[in-house]
């Protein structure tokens, strides 16, 4: 069996065990309701952070409008379930597809140019989507989209998170993912080696947007309503901070970043300004002293355990 498949199966088993453990704790009401909400939030933010990491960390572009794609997913899925009465899975897929389409349309003109254009375009995009939603009365306008059924539970959130993690992990390990990493390391060199840089940048951006849409769908079906103020630039900034804290390019880093910062925000829920000051200072200090984040672009994997026991050394080397 290939090493890759082996580690994949092992990670899957770990993920499912974790799921069983947490679901058991939730069912037995050992985790109090406030923290149950936070566990679901962690799952949603892991989807958001790893998808942003694919764009910012793996491909080396700089998108700061993730909340915009999230808003598209949130509202499209809510239209599907509330207005059209379709099942939740269809709503999630529509949300993801709508966000992907928008990502494609925005990415195509902006990704051909240097990083700053994308940053400015996505910064504007987030605001534009918010303003547009504010002015569409069909989805509730400024008062928000009310009466969304609460379909999101721990099972949906965790399984979709697991799917996202596996999808992005395997994408990064594929030919396409290698091309994306090559673009990050040196775009001109990658182009000289025959990598179609625009194609891969747009591909990564579209996939990232799609998962942001999926997370948005989970988000709006978790709080009974979708409101434009949930999708401001601050939301994008939150996600960016999580990714940068964990380390641009490291998926496990993003997960750790999400857990750490969701923990902080759960404790600081009453002081939003102080929370943002902490986030912002964290970013500045990180850039000054450890710009690669906690993990750099490295991953923690199950191989660490086999390395610790000294067993799989040879196998791991073959796998590389």
């Amino acid at each position: 069996m290939r090493i890759q498949t082996k580690t994949d199966l092992a990670s899957l088993a770990c993920g499912l065990t974790l799921y069983a453990l947490l679901e058991g704790l939730i069912l037995a009401d050992i985790i109090p309701p406030y923290w149950q909400l936070n566990v679901i939030r962690v799952c949603i933010y892991i989807i958001l952070a790893t998808s942003l990491n694919l764009i910012n960390g793996i491909t080396g572009q700089f998108s700061i409008g993730h909340a915009g794609f999230m808003a598209i997913g949130a509202y499209m899925s809510a239209i599907m379930t509330v207005k059209l009465g379709l099942p939740f899975l269809v709503a999630i897929l529509t949300g993801g597809l709508a966000a992907a389409l928008l990502g494609f349309l925005i990415g195509l003109p902006t990704l051909r140019l240097s990083g700053d254009y994308l940053a400015i375009a996505t910064l504007g995009l987030g605001e534009i989507i918010r303003i547009t939603i504010l002015n569409i009365s069909y989805v509730g306008g400024a008062s928000g989209f009310m009466g969304i059924p609460k379909y999101t539970n721990f099972t949906w959130a965790f399984l979709l998170m697991l799917f996202t993690l596996f999808f992005i992990k395997n994408f990064v390990n594929s030919t396409h993912g290698r091309a994306c990493i090559a673009i990050r390391e040196n775009e001109i060199a990658a182009e000289a080696m025959g990598v179609n840089t625009t194609k891969y940048k747009v591909l990564a951006f579209t996939i990232g947007a799609a998962f942001a849409g999926v997370a948005g769908a989970l988000f709006s079906h978790n709080f009974y309503m979708a409101h434009p103020t949930s999708f401001t630039f601050m939301q994008s900034f939150d996600i960016l901070t999580m990714v940068v804290l964990g380390g641009l390019g490291s998926m496990t880093g993003s997960i750790v970043g999400v857990i750490a910062l969701t923990g902080i925000s759960a404790y600081m829920a009453d002081y939003p300004e102080i929370r943002m000051i902490i986030y912002a200072l964290l970013l500045i200090v990180l850039m000054l002293f450890r710009p690669q984040g906690l993990f750099g672009s490295k991953e923690i994997s199950l191989r660490i355990f086999s390395r610790l026991t000294g067993g799989e050394r040879r196998g791991a080397a073959q796998g590389n």
């Binding site: 910012n56 080396g60 700089f62 700061i64 925005i106 003109p109 902006t110 051909r112 140019l113 240097s114 990083g115 700053d116 254009y117 940053a119 400015i120 375009a121 910064l123 504007g124 995009l125 605001e127 534009i128 303003i131 547009t132 002015n135 775009e187 001109i188 630039f233 601050m234 900034f237 960016l240 940068v244 641009l248 300004e273 102080i274 943002m276 000051i277 986030y279 912002a280 200072l281 964290l282 970013l283 500045i284 850039m287 000054l288 710009p291």
Partner: protein, 290 residues
């Protein structure tokens, strides 16, 4: 009606041009988007407001104070958040993240200390009108146009004729060669941020008088970024022209179409322009060099 709209558009365009020039100035030297610029503008407006209303100083002194305060803050921002990165030759991604952190930090610092209240300048300054060819034109708009252009012309003169200005222009072409020729880059970057900060103070004052002074007012720099892209990132004449075009078009759209779609329009303009004219009007960087 049309004249009035055009004057309002030029006034807003002048403020956009001021901000876009400040932003482009930093971009042309350090090659990154200084997202903290908006919060410097916001702080400049607060400084001006406090000098005028709380300290009771005359308007001219308050404007000068706001300009100097913002210049100092911008310089401080570079010293604390960017200079280490610059010495490490960090990628522009890290500069942008640091800038964004600074923006959020300053904005929330104002929230936590001064509060989220909106402060308005007294109506004597903001509400006077003069009649001109049958159109009623705000004195503030005329002032904004005159002062923006004076400031931009002064900057232009400084860049063309002073030693520091020539060094800045040289560094915008090639920083390393400039350094090899004996220019102290640290001092030069300090100058660039002081100049950009001074423009931020002036535009902050005008924005505060035209709209109000509040913690999130800095996000209007989004428009300055768009203006800079229209003119071509890193080009100063481009930033001026881009700012004016954006200001006039926006005002026309909000007067004759709908004020709701104004922001949507500006952004769509950006995307369309990137499709048909990616370098902008006066763009000098498109191809990356090896």
């Amino acid at each position: 009606m049309l004249i009035q709209t055009l004057v309002t558009g030029l006034a807003i365009g002048g403020i956009y041009a001021l901000m876009a020039v400040g932003y482009s100035l930093v971009f042309s030297i350090l090659n990154f988007s200084n997202f903290a610029y908006g919060s410097i503008i916001m702080l400049g407006a607060y400084v001006g407001y406090y000098l005028l209303m709380k300290a009771g100083l005359p308007l001219a002194v308050s404007v000068a104070g706001s300009v100097m305060g913002a210049a100092f803050l911008c310089y401080l921002n570079e010293r604390m958040a960017y200079s280490t990165l610059r010495k490490r030759n960090a990628a522009s991604l890290y500069f942008m993240i640091s800038a964004m952190g600074t923006a959020i930090f300053l904005e929330n610092l104002v929230y936590a200390t001064i509060g989220s209240r909106f402060y308005a300048f007294p109506e004597i300054i903001t509400q006077q009108n003069i009649t001109f060819w049958g159109a009623s034109i705000g004195v503030l708009d005329v002032f904004a146009i005159v002062f923006s252009f004076t400031a931009i012309y002064m900057l232009h003169y400084f860049l063309q004729h002073s030693r520091v200005g020539i060094a800045i222009r040289a560094a915008s072409y090639d920083m390393q060669v400039c350094q090899l020729n004996g220019v102290n880059i640290t001092r030069l970057v300090g100058w660039v941020f002081l100049l950009a900060g001074a423009l931020a103070g002036l535009s902050g004052m005008f924005l505060g008088m035209k709209y109000m002074v509040y913690p999130t007012m800095g996000w209007i720099t989004n428009k300055a970024y768009i203006a800079a892209v229209i003119g071509g990132l890193g080009s100063l004449p481009g930033a001026v022209v881009g700012g004016l075009i954006l200001g006039v078009l926006e005002t026309l759209v909000s007067t004759y179409v709908s004020s709701v779609i104004r922001d949507v329009f500006s952004f769509s303009l950006l995307v369309v322009l990137l499709l048909v004219l990616p370098t902008g009007l006066f763009g000098k960087y498109l191809e990356e060099k090896v």
